[in-house]
């Protein structure tokens, strides 16, 4: 027995459940005409960004399924991917073999880091997000220790283009000329003058199919059960801790691959910065697509990438045309990125309370009927 809702209530509920995407549609609707960009330019930019970012964002889906919230620890995977890229750049392996080798190198590192991250998150149940967020910062310290002090000193790196003049440590920027756009340019089709990197899209599609299939497997169903209620899942004989660790490991490995795809499109690696921002941008994009901390699907990923990056592309120009300062638009997009995450987190908590209240009402109505 459910509570009956009037039409206006239904509309309000729909609005309430999709606040963030609606807000973004409004921002984009104002921003696009203000920026003065042509439709063609915007579409081709958005296509590039979809190819660049979707893989990373899809990697966030599985921990959400397991009820662990947004995995800010995806930066760990990004670091593993970057370490893979540093090695292949040093060995001079270019093109598709380079990308594949970087992925192979990143995998064991990602698994190890993901396993460790999952272990720690199991110690901090109920506050996974803030913990995974701090884990990202903590590992950034270790990453710097390895890359800035270990590489070239303990870990052999030969290439002078990579090592700092002092003899050890990797330079601030690494040119990934060998693998630059090698996946994107493998097969490009022009649709209405917009270049579409088909192979990259095929890889992303494969990942999406994998995620959809994974949700239907035994492990995927276990994760859903763990996400719904840990105690019930445990009573049903599911190894809760193990399942949670596996979800983080899968996410970290995919984040590593995603980072490699992302950087092959960009073409340069900011050794000490690239991974720090990627977590925030991916999470923000997913939330813009209408995902919540507890529920996310493939549709949210693509809607999110399109809306978030449209805002990202138009806001500096819109700021310049509106107030005369491009800087303003840049600050605006940073503000919106963080604001979106804040609003989503707040709405999630508030909604959780409201649903608890609603469940109470349903229960009361049921009891009234039986009496």
């Amino acid at each position: 027995m459910t509570l009956h809702m009037t039409k206006t209530q239904k509309v309000l509920r729909f609005m309430g459940n999709n606040t963030v995407p609606i807000l973004f549609l409004i921002i984009c609707a104002f921003g696009i005409p203000l920026s003065g960009y042509s439709a063609n330019y915007l579409v081709s930019e958005v296509v590039v960004r979809i190819a660049r970012n979707s893989f990373l964002i899809v990697s966030l889906l599985i921990p959400i399924l397991a009820g662990m919230g947004l995995n800010f620890g995806m930066t760990l995977g990004a670091m593993a991917g970057q370490i893979g890229l540093i090695f292949i750049s040093d060995w001079g392996i270019a093109g598709i073999p380079g990308i594949l080798l970087a992925m192979i190198i990143s995998t064991p590192i990602s698994i190890l880091l993901g396993w460790w991250c999952g272990k720690i998150l199991n110690l901090a149940k109920g506050r996974e997000m803030v913990t995974s967020y701090i884990i990202g910062f903590f590992m950034n310290g270790i990453y710097q220790l390895i890359v800035l002090y270990g590489m070239g000193a303990i870990i052999p790196i030969r290439s002078n283009a990579l090592v700092l003049p002092r003899g050890y440590g990797i330079r601030n920027t690494v040119n990934l000329i060998g693998i630059r756009k090698s996946l994107d340019n493998l097969l490009t089709v022009r649709i209405f003058g917009v270049p579409v990197p088909l192979v990259t899209f095929a890889v992303i599609a494969l990942l999406c199919i994998f995620v959809l299939w994974f949700k239907k497997t035994k492990l995927g169903q276990d994760m859903r059960a763990v996400g719904q209620d840990m105690e019930v899942a445990r009573a049903a004989g599911i190894r809760v801790e193990h399942t949670r660790i596996v979800s983080i490991v899968i996410s970290t490995v995919f984040a590593g691959y995603g980072m490699i795809l992302y950087l092959q499109n960009i073409g340069t690696l900011n050794t000490y910065n690239s991974h720090m921002q990627i977590g925030m941008f991916s999470v923000a994009a997913l939330l813009v697509g209408g995902a919540t901390v507890a529920k996310a699907n493939i549709r949210n990923v693509f809607l999110g990438v399109i809306l978030f990056h449209l805002m990202f592309i138009v806001s500096p120009m819109a700021g310049k045309n509106l107030i005369g300062q491009a800087q303003l638009g840049e600050y605006f997009r940073v503000f919106v990125s963080y604001g979106v995450i804040t609003i989503s987190l707040v709405l999630y908590e508030v909604r959780k309370k409201r649903d608890q209240g609603l469940a109470g009402l349903v229960l009361a109505a049921e009891q009234e009927e039986t009496v």
Binding site: I120, L123, A124, K125, G126, R127, M129, V130, T131, Y133, I134, I135, F137, F138, N140, G141, I142, Q144, L145, L148, Y149, I323, Q325, Q327, L328, Y331, F332, V334, F335, S337, Y338, G339, I341, T342, L345, V346, Y348, E349, V350, K353
Partner: protein, 353 residues
């Protein structure tokens, strides 16, 4: 028998003090012992540590009220810092030179801290259980929002705005001529060429710490502790939980505002735009190093923690640099501070909330 007793008492001591704290304290001690051998002046180091202690202690103190009322670690410290920055910039805009400007900055910062803190408290009351993540992002988004505001607000004092456009505040503003070192130089004691004790700054912290300590022993303060340790029990005994929590958040925000003003008068610059962005993390880890946990903190934790944390931040660059000719201090700082936060977040006893 006797040795057994001894080991058990040592174990008890280790347990009560916490292993990470002991490691950090020993590490700092080793650094101080090593310093003279590698040619680092202990007097200068101690003086630097004291100075940094004074600069940061008030911001660490800003963690205490919110931890007491059960709102968790105040990752939203940047919000308080923004109130302080508004106070500072308005004080410079009023353009009264000398120590008066510091009092004015405190005065102007207060209403902003109260209003922002009140709103922040209302928000946190609606998201009980998820405070820390939301606090982090409230801090981030408010900093990003203020980036826009610093560009647009109609400030006009030529020491503050960009020279060529005449509008928009600079990223760093010198407080020279206004309140540079007002607290540092107040009653400062010079023990030797290298050792200078910034008495005024430490006294200012002591005053605020005393006020918080005294407050926590009043009726409202006890109510705050009750709310933090058991909200259901507190409600049953007639305490308005939401009101007490809001009060604690307002206090934390105000202390954050005062904290950044103390920091500025010693540092010499107002840092705007992305300046306050990561300021919460050092303060959070400092109080945790001092022995606080996610729902328990005392003034002693603040003092010990700030001293240990700032000691390491001061000592590692100089000692490490002279020892192995590499500055690894940044990495050590990141690992120690975030490791400490992770340690606190994963304690089992506190995970049930």
């Amino acid at each position: 028998m006797n040795t057994e007793k001894l080991t058990s008492s040592v174990k008890g001591l280790v347990k009560s003090f916490g292993l990470p704290r002991i490691i950090i304290a020993l590490f700092l001690l080793v650094l101080f012992i090593l310093a003279p051998f590698v040619g680092v002046n202990v007097g200068t180091s101690l003086s630097d540590t004291l100075n940094r202690f004074g600069m940061n202690a008030v911001m660490v103190l800003a963690m205490v009220p919110m931890i007491h009322s059960g709102c968790g670690l105040n990752f939203g410290l940047p919000l308080g810092i923004i109130a302080g920055l508004l106070g500072a910039t308005i004080s410079l805009q009023v353009n009264i030179p000398g120590p008066t400007s510091f009092l004015l900055a405190m005065l102007f910062a207060t209403p902003f801290a109260v209003i922002l803190g009140w709103g922040y408290g209302q928000l946190l009351n609606r998201v009980k259980g998820g405070e820390m993540m939301i606090a982090t992002y409230v801090g981030f988004s408010s900093v990003a929002f203020m980036c826009i505001m610093w560009l647009l607000l109609p400030f006009s004092n030529p020491t503050m705005v960009w020279g060529y456009s005449g509008s928009g505040l600079r990223t760093t503003i010198s407080v020279e001529g206004y309140y540079l070192h007002v607290l540092n130089d107040l009653l400062s004691i010079r023990l030797s060429d290298h050792l200078l004790i910034p008495t005024g700054m430490i006294l200012f912290f002591a005053l605020l710490a005393f006020i918080i300590w005294a407050f926590l022993h009043t009726k409202t303060g006890t109510a705050m502790t009750a709310v933090g340790s058991n909200p259901v029990f507190a409600r049953a005994s007639g305490i308005n939980v939401d009101k007490v929590r809001t009060l604690s958040v307002v206090m934390s925000t105000w202390l954050g505002a005062m904290g950044i003003l103390v920091y500025q008068q010693s540092f010499g610059f107002i840092q705007l735009y992305m300046g306050p962005f990561y300021m919460a993390l050092p303060a959070v880890s400092a109080i945790l190093i001092g022995g606080a946990s996610v729902n328990k903190a005392s003034i002693l934790n603040v003092v010990v923690g700030t001293f240990l944390f700032q000691g390491i931040v001061t000592m590692t660059p100089s000692v490490m640099n002279s020892m192995i000719h590499t500055d690894m201090s940044e990495v050590i700082r990141i690992v120690v501070s975030n490791g400490m936060i992770l340690y606190a977040l994963t304690r089992k006893t506190e995970a049930v909330r």
